[in-house]
């Protein structure tokens, strides 16, 4: 089927639309998602098409909204719970960590939780410390969860459709800056399995690993590096759990140099884990330490310049790539 250009949010909407048409047990709850179509307009039109039974607004009860989603999933439905900001998911951490993630093992493997929590994170527009976090590392650390972070409309559609067919709880983490970005997306069926990284740009000198909103920024950096004769490969894991280790190690084996880029704060982020894996499993492939470009260890400030300083900019990525290229020479 033909590809068309869609916005990220349109691609997400299309995925929901298609899966809700295919499966009557897919339904969605969230704050202002019905008539109003959601704060980021992902769910626009769903109410009109699927009715109030399957598309419903909730009061401000995040802990229980998430718990209700988990319970509905245990009872074999296909709930999608939209949480406005990833920061608010903290209110439902018990349900995510102690219920959704644990149920399968606690029931000896028999109970499944096909629950999709959609939310969005990241900085953007001065919404400050309680509305700007990148918290994927918290979910990444909890066995039993799937952590998905699409960077393009194409991936957003394919991964969300897959999320609605697989059996485990999924933290589907969108980015507020990406909703209006555009990209080519096929009409109809598009399924992207979890655990398959995508090489967003091929290169030979250095591997740049990035996800979510850091992908466009890293591609920009790669473009700049190309202008200076440096060939950077940009690898987007797309899903952090499961992580496509093979693809990462293959790229490292080729380039021998790695920079990992994350918007989340440096301390205890997913980048650290990926770095720890690379140095452990590809120690003798590395010509330089794995460099990490990450957010500063700080809550996000309101002020525009300080907000910018808190998260990686293209120039930071370019600089880090150059530093790993010259690391051995410097040493």
């Amino acid at each position: 089927m033909a590809d068309r250009e869609l916005m990220y949010r349109e691609a997400l909407r299309e995925a929901l639309f298609e899966e809700m048409e295919l499966n009557d047990e897919v339904f969605i709850i969230g704050e202002g998602i019905a008539e109003r179509g959601g704060s980021y307009k992902v769910t626009e039109g769903l109410l009109a098409k699927f009715g109030a039974l399957r598309v419903r607004d909730t009061p401000i009860s995040e802990a229980s909204m998430i718990g209700v989603g988990v319970g509905a999933a245990i009872a074999h439905a296909r709930p999608v719970v939209e949480i406005l900001y990833i920061d608010f998911a903290m209110l439902g951490m018990d349900q995510i960590v102690n219920q959704a993630a644990k149920f399968r093992l606690m029931t000896g493997g028999e109970g499944r939780v096909p629950f999709v929590l959609r939310t969005q994170g990241g900085t953007g527009g001065g919404v400050a410390a309680q509305h700007s976090q990148s918290l994927e590392a918290l979910f990444y650390h909890i066995p039993g969860l799937r952590v998905v972070m699409p960077s393009t409309p194409h991936d957003a559609k394919g991964l969300l459709k897959y999320a609605l067919r697989q059996p485990d709880p999924v933290m589907f983490l969108e980015h507020k800056h990406l909703y209006m970005t555009k990209g080519m997306v096929p009409e109809g069926e598009l399924i992207i399995e979890f655990g398959k990284a995508d090489i967003k740009r091929e290169g030979t000198d250095v591997t740049l690993i990035a996800w979510s909103n850091m992908v466009p920024r890293t591609l920009e950096a790669a473009e700049q590096l190309a202008g200076e004769g440096i060939s950077a490969e940009v690898l987007d894991p797309r899903t952090l759990v499961p992580l496509d280790k093979d693809a990462i190690l293959a790229s490292v084996a080729k380039t021998n140099r790695v920079v990992i880029v994350q918007e989340a704060v440096r301390r205890g982020g997913v980048a650290s884990d990926i770095a720890s894996i690379i140095q452990q499993e590809a120690f003798y492939d590395l010509d330089a330490p794995v460099e990490i470009v990450a957010g500063m260890n700080t809550p996000i400030p309101f002020n525009l310049e300080l907000e910018k300083a808190s998260v990686p900019q293209t120039s930071d990525i370019v600089a880090a790539a150059k530093s790993v290229l010259h690391a051995d020479k410097a040493a």
Binding site: D24, E25, F27, I29, L53, R54, R56, T58, P59, S61, A63, S64, M65, I66, G67, V68, G69, V70, G71, A72, A73, I74, A75, H76, A77, P79, D94, Q95, N98, Q99, F103, L105, M106, T107, G108, G109, E110, G111, P143, G144, P242
Partner: protein, 328 residues
């Protein structure tokens, strides 16, 4: 609405027998489980529901196969009342592969999920949203199935109580929330935990039909829940039921419960739900004492046999475990 203990016509014998056998089966399981615990055969937490059997028995007798239940950390009784086999339950306590959770879960997570049981739960209050979720799933799929969530007095001071019951209310879900008000959270009394100990009022305040009943009267529990089920199936849910009860012992096997005043304990012992179910069966159901004794013996034998089977069963191996979680 506060307690209303009037009873209309005589209940059928089958019902009375079911109420008694369920209550007695729970009692037998808890007493026997405690012995196994004391023998060092059970690890972890073990929260017996001794004294509270009337609620699980009464409530689960009022629902059908297609309905759902969800439970608490004190969840053996609910699981049994919902039809779980004693074999799988004892085996779970003994961490065997033949247990309902293959030994992965234990007492606090015990569940026969094939019986639409959302499981016991180690997090006080967490079961309530799960139950509302099951009720929502059923509403979405057009089923008239009802979900009963058993909860506790302790959990009524947890935010999920308000949030979840409110969600069930605005969506008119087929959801019945039963507070097993045993008047304690470990050693903390209900009076210490809240100013107004009439917990059903919290449902009324958000427009939910709410009842307060004697939870030690299995027949009353049955009737109240049956009525709530009917209301739910006709679209008038949810319903909140506060069932007052009392533990016969401490919070868990290792808590002697010395803080429980003797008089009060005696008061509730005198209103023992198993005794009352037995009395009902004999008086209203016209079963002879001998027949009842035979029933009891059978249930004890069932338990003893389950212990033997569980002892003989194997455990999940480390390799199987590693293999199972390799995709985590």
């Amino acid at each position: 609405m506060a307690a209303d203990n009037t009873r209309s016509n005589t209940p059928p014998k089958e019902l009375l027998e079911k109420l008694f056998t369920t209550a007695f089966r729970i009692r037998t399981f808890e007493s026997g489980g405690i012995k196994l615990y004391r023998q060092g055969l059970v690890r972890g937490y073990f929260h017996p529901s001794l004294g509270q059997e009337g609620i699980a028995s009464g409530a689960c007798a009022a629902i059908e196969d297609r309905d759902y239940i969800g439970s608490t950390h004190r969840g053996h009784g609910h699981c049994i009342a919902r039809g779980a086999e004693i074999d799988g339950m004892v085996a779970e306590l003994l961490q065997k592969r033949t247990g309902y959770c293959k030994g992965y879960g234990g007492s606090m997570h015990i569940a026969d999920i094939t019986k639409n049981n959302l499981g016991a739960n180690g997090i006080v209050g967490a079961g309530t949203p799960l139950g509302v979720g099951a009720a929502l799933a059923n509403q979405v799929r057009g089923s008239d199935a009802v979900t009963i969530t058993f909860t506790t007095d302790g959990a009524t001071n947890n935010g999920t109580f308000l949030e979840s019951l409110n969600l069930a209310a605005i969506w008119n879900l087929n959801f019945i929330l039963i507070i097993e008000n045993n008047q304690y959270a470990v050693s903390t009394t209900l009076e210490e935990a809240t100013r107004d100990t009439d917990l059903y009022k919290r449902g009324e305040a958000i427009g939910v039909e709410s009842h307060q009943i004697d939870g030690n009267d299995p027949l009353l529990v049955y009737e109240t829940v049956l009525d709530a089920v009917k209301k739910c199936r006709s679209g008038l849910g949810p319903v909140l039921i506060e069932a007052k009860t009392y533990r016969h012992s401490g919070h868990h096997v290792n808590d002697p419960g010395k803080y429980m005043p003797e008089e009060r304990l005696k008061y509730y012992m005198d209103r023992d739900p198993v005794d009352r179910a037995r009395d009902n069966l004999i008086k209203l159901g016209k079963m002879s004492a001998e027949e009842v004794a035979k029933l009891e013996e059978e249930i004890q034998q069932e338990f003893d046999a389950a212990v033997e089977k569980a002892k003989a069963a194997g455990e999940i191996s480390v390799e199987e475990f590693q293999d199972f979680v390799s995709a985590y």
